[in-house]
Symmetry: C2
Subunit: 401 residues, 2 copies
Amino acid sequence: MNSKNSSTNLITPGGFLFSTKEAAIKKPGRKDILLIYSQHEAIISGMFTKNKVKAAPVKLDMQRIRTGKGQAIIVNSGNANACTGMQGMRDALEMTTLVARGLNLAEDKVYVCSTGVIGTPMPMERIRIKIPELVEGLGKSTPYDATAAIMTTDTFPKVVTRRIKIGSKTGTLLGICKGAGMVCPHMATMLCFIMTDLKIGKIALDKAMKDAVKNSFNRITIDGDMSTNDTVLIMANGMAENEPIRKDTASFKRFSSALSDMTYELGRLIVKDGEGATKLVEIVVRNARNERDAYKAAFTIANSPLVKTALYGNDVNWGRIMAALGSSGITIKETKIDIYFGKVKVVKSGISHQKDMEAANIIREKELTITVDLHLGTSSSRILTCDLTEDYIRINAEYRT
Amino acid sequence: MNSKNSSTNLITPGGFLFSTKEAAIKKPGRKDILLIYSQHEAIISGMFTKNKVKAAPVKLDMQRIRTGKGQAIIVNSGNANACTGMQGMRDALEMTTLVARGLNLAEDKVYVCSTGVIGTPMPMERIRIKIPELVEGLGKSTPYDATAAIMTTDTFPKVVTRRIKIGSKTGTLLGICKGAGMVCPHMATMLCFIMTDLKIGKIALDKAMKDAVKNSFNRITIDGDMSTNDTVLIMANGMAENEPIRKDTASFKRFSSALSDMTYELGRLIVKDGEGATKLVEIVVRNARNERDAYKAAFTIANSPLVKTALYGNDVNWGRIMAALGSSGITIKETKIDIYFGKVKVVKSGISHQKDMEAANIIREKELTITVDLHLGTSSSRILTCDLTEDYIRINAEYRT
């Protein structure tokens, strides 16, 4: 497996099965549909794109998630089924109907996600016939196979697991996701599926999920664009037979923390694999007047094409960071600003600290942190971003062709 | 003159002289300082960057412009004199002091503008000695020479003139500017100097200028970044000896319209010459609920890296326009949206109109208009943008080196 984060012995949570097939949705040559199935009905929680143009599968899932229950997810890559009108809605529905029929489930227990090109009708003639095969193949694919099937311009599959003990029982969390481009908060163009065999109440699951997304997928950016299809779904099937996790308990804290940790790691992998990216950069803004200011400043810096191209060019061009900061709309006092590349202070009190040469060694690293200290308050925020490269342009100028 | 908009017989407004010299500010080999001088004291009006991090010359000019009078502008390229602290302020001041001394002017009649790298002290030892030469050379440089001296990554000088008749007198407007990158509203990274020999009152000049900038430089974008140095200055020296133009008169309307027209043309040239740009694209959003929505939607589309890379790749990827629209935060109704490339309707009522092949001929053109019709109201807005190319990355990854 050509993966930057493969681990050979993945632990899969109890009762979850995967199946992947090739439906040649965009073009032939790779598996592009995935079925995730839980042998027991699961509690399900989800978060969806804030884009007002939502893909058909997103609209459908947003309705179904109100039941709080789920047992299967069908996912395709190569076509987003967005801006496809009534036919798109019928296609999304049909995909879930066929899965429900094959698995003998109530239709509203089946969810559907799509990623790929916007505005092209789904090639249902090729998808339809593959669904019985998908059902048939359950259990024959690994989580890596699952992730590979939902990749678009991703260059490696993103899989993260965590094990936690709740009482005398040990449960597993498995998260898989795809990202790559059109990645920005609320959320990345990303699909993320998290499966756990832990038993947890719906309210607790919703809360843990919301916190996890806030501190991970809403803190990453690749190009500032927001997708029509972003979806995060978590299914908890209870097969670990632990005492159910309730909100505001010690076991909830452990679960929530493991989930946040996992989604942060998944978010990190998404940015690391950003389209054309050569480096992963954490932007930290600290001592802002309030959290909103810190977040806004960090995002403006993280999204600035000039900052991102300077990162690519290994140019300690902190002037562009100052310019982005000044344009972010937040309160600043120029003469109080310090900027660090790693631990090297390049700006002291708003002007050069004559350390650009030292910082040049930091900026060449594959992962680095840039810290902006505003010295105005006590609030902090951090955002993960990547550099902007010629490959980003090439990938996106040629995406549809 | 290797210029896309050169005209051999430029009419210069009466009483304005130019001088350019080489001070080797960033590197030797080109003229990089400019002096603009009006033989008569002029009424002056200015607009400056909204960035909270302002270059020293911007801070100085913002103080001086309160007098409403001016007679000379010294400009340098290669160094922005931004984030340079107290020394930067002293350097900006010294530049005006030396010009004032050479021209025997009150110091507060002299303005200073800088463009280039942020955070590096001004090489005053090289600039200082060139100022007497600049003064000496007045009248020996053309408006094209003037523009060439303030270029950074611009590939051609941007000069526009207009002649208008006020009563029995004919006056001239001459505008020169530089742009290229870090261009976004409020305003582009741009310096723009407009000179006219028309006689006009300060209140009228301010009003005409504000309207002109609103409809030109605040409606262009290259990369969404906002500079620390943006400045637009207009000097009117009255040497045409016309009846003074007052606000709310017919001659004001003519003046204002000529000025707006000129700044729009200059803005167009800036975007056309955007860093790495291969095409100029006008984004029109019409029938929005209100002007704010129209403007916001047009800007979100115009700034989307995915839209801009698709334009570069000649890919009629209207799905990315829909996605940008949906993420702009304005009110939309997906099923009411129509999108046109030129006159070809590619989206009808939110879904494909099956005209991508026809639109492919439009997108290959060097200049095109994309129109989004929201069918929700009567407000419109238009923004000029360009495509995002590998050359943008190359230019900006290597800018300082």
